[in-house]
Symmetry: C3
Subunit: 345 residues, 3 copies
């Protein structure tokens, strides 16, 4: 693996190796252990489009491996403003750095970056294109949650809810899940915001069941996962926004009525908590089924695994670990679930 | 101590412990020694309002302890622009970082950050609210200067000059000084810019003397400290600005005429050196009484102490220190005072 | 050497010592070795004018020595916006950092920074003024390329092409080259964009040959180096821009026809690859004579040498080195030249 540009480039055994490395990185990501394997290495963390959380997650992952981070942020890049090609920019910065994360508003721009360098490039999101590290951390979270609940990914029932047309995270995730066996997908979207048919066809061709719906409020009792998506208002026409009624709101009343006691709730975040947003509701905070913060926490371990794999140090992750001498909280957030209260349904 | 949000949360013994830790951190802050106790830790340095010097001071302090820093700057935060709540932002970033510094233009926003996480949060200034690390470094500087001059904080005469209404630093500092004994405060402000009565009442209730004045140019010969404040033009009405006449200018002529040979001069910085600003004058540069750069230098040691205390490594600060192998200047600035020339008055 | 502000401050033996230190730093800059001599040190990387590549190059150099970097970017600096003098800003930040890199849009502003501090200041470019680290990395590259080709800098024929009036890099480079013996310079610029006469006079006074031309397309067969410059459209009047015709374009046809088989091609980058720019052409990519990426790569080693020298650790660079455990590509870019194909002309 030279670069990580798209989940399409990943075979199932590569995905499993990455997730196994992420599991090995957990004690470091959770601040129990200190690792310095990348001490002396430099990450170029290039965000041509703002994304504070993704930028910080990648940066924290590289730092936890012992490396240092050089950030660029903002919509303009001074050299590009002077007419420099993406290829030149990529090659120049590759002379400074050991790995690059690139987020760019245009689909394909990150691949263009990667073509100009042998230094590993991670796609941190290219507009409507790909965001493979998000899909990997989503899959990692599903495995983690299901393992705790005594469930398996193979044969699971996965519901995806909301804007399935523009959400690149659900596009990438369903492709990764389609590598597994006998999956059942329920795809629930308002008119005009459905999952692209090409993706559905590909998933169905792999022998999985797909059911599509326009209404959220019925039979998800046996869903193992409800994956709600962020409403990307900026990419919607007025008509689509009208279809996004309060009926699509995933809140405590909906979950208690229509989901099971062990249905896992995920969301790529950020969720829109402003009035009338109809996004995943904050009244679910503290419910042990709500996995959204465990999901984002997992991003650090998964991104550590991506860097370790691309830089060929995955077998060194366990070596030379020492205990972190500083205090870390037992639970990160005061609403974080106490899992002893949660038993499988 | 979980968070550092306000000086109101600090008992006198906690303040003294923090300042003792800062004294232990001095050789590291002054680059004589290298400390790596926080190697592997990550600081989220979140500045929702620009403040380069404060941001760099916190960052340098964390780096001097061996940690790494992830910065965010600018008035917008991409997730918040998408409708994310402060609570979600705080919880998400807490999954990446071991400590957070937050500056925010709105009073109370930093406390809202802190309520959503068990990861320690330091208030780096919340609008007109609090800026506790500044008050602590001011107190540290007062103790340091007084010790050199053979003076004590208990029983001292402290003059505060300028805009005492909007200056959160003087609000926090006077609260900390009010924890001491038999203080005498002279508060000198133009009409409309006086210290808020609630703060004066609280200080007086602790048994300290407070005298208020509208004119600077008289009897500060026995003042142990003159603390001048930055003129916050952006928060003043036209009428207030008119009251801020050149009579309020603290310059060499004023100090030589009205202050003592051992009166310490402090200022939270930045000072406005543009024409007609009437701020603390640059003609005092090089005068040994001018402590403003020693004051800002002390910020690194004090912020190291804050991090070390919040992360529970204050007892480890002295361990495993080694000499810094690189050259550091004997005096940082060419105008820095030579203390042999300064004898107590 | 306290600061690095201008190549005018450098004697020839200082330049040679810096380049020797850069050669010693190469294995670290090329990621074969890990060095931690500046562990615990902090760089203030202050860019009051945007320059992502220069900022990242300095940052990477400091990180490769083991240090940590605090960045500021953007055209405004919050304290300066509040009326703070450059001297105050410099002195304050010097209390946080062990070295400062300053880029500023105004000529002389970096020297003003340096006058207020004993902490070493590196001029990262001050408007039309100086950019000494670029000149040093250019000279380092020339020595490196010439050594590979069995050539010497003394007695070489150097052609400089393009906007020689506004290009501070060629101004600084020609001064450094004028420290050598029996140089021959061919300066080719459109009308109005000629090298300033004062610089030509100084070079000629050192006994070097200077020929000036207005036309590119003739006799550079014996040129050892063609140094093309970036077209600084933002500093040109309309008339000058008209003189900058396609005749000034350095492309493969030109190089094959008018240059020699061992003529080295350099450029300070970024090059303008937008249509009609007439800058150094991308059709030369992959030509072993094109040294532009080796040139920018060399920036890291040269900047490491600058920091090591200013901080007095140049003799420690070789100590305690260890092998970098992570994978680095054999060639950074897919178009990077294979030098076995290149034999001296």
């Amino acid at each position: 693996m030279t670069h990580l540009l798209s989940v399409d480039d990943l075979e199932r055994d590569q995905v499993e190796a990455l997730l196994a490395t992420a599991r090995a990185a957990e004690p470091i990501a959770r601040r129990h252990k200190v690792c310095r394997v990348l001490e002396g290495a430099v990450l170029g963390n290039l965000f041509f489009e703002a994304s504070t959380r993704t930028r910080m997650s990648f940066a924290a992952a590289f730092c936890r491996l012992g490396g240092a981070v050089c950030d660029t942020t903002g919509f303009t890049f001074s050299s590009m403003a002077k007419g420099e090609s993406i290829a030149d920019t990529s090659r120049v910065i590759s002379g400074y750095c050991d790995a690059l994360v690139v987020r760019h508003p245009e689909q394909g721009a990150v691949a263009e970056f990667a073509r100009a360098t042998h230094v590993p490039v991670v796609n941190g999101g290219d507009g409507p294109g790909e965001h493979p590290s998000q899909a990997l951390l989503d899959l990692y979270t599903i495995e983690d949650e299901f393992a705790r609940l005594g469930k398996h990914v193979d044969g699971a029932h996965i519901a995806m809810v909301g804007d399935l047309r523009h959400g690149r995270t659900v596009h990438s995730l369903i492709k990764l899940l389609a590598q597994r066996s006998r999956m059942r997908f329920t795809l629930i979207a308002p008119p005009g915001l459905e999952m692209p048919p090409a993706i559905c066809d590909r998933v169905a061709a792999n022998g999985h069941l797909i059911e599509t719906r326009r209404v959220l409020r019925q039979g998800l009792h046996d869903a193992d996962l409800v994956y709600a998506t962020r409403i990307q208002r900026e990419r919607m026409s007025g008509e689509m926004r009208e279809g996004y009624t309060p009926d699509f709101r995933v809140d405590r009343a909906f979950v208690d009525t229509h989901c099971g006691v062990s249905t896992v709730l995920m969301h790529p975040l950020p969720r829109d908590s402003s009035p009338g947003a109809n996004d995943l509701s904050t009244d679910l905070d503290g419910d042990p089924r709500l996995a959204i913060f465990r999901q984002t926490d997992n991003g650090v371990a998964v991104r550590m695994a991506i860097f370790a794999t691309l830089l060929g140090v995955e077998s060194l992750l366990q070596r030379g670990l020492r205990d972190a001498p500083w205090r870390h909280p037992h639970r990160i957030g005061p609403m974080d679930a106490d899992f002893h209260a949660l038993s499988p349904g």
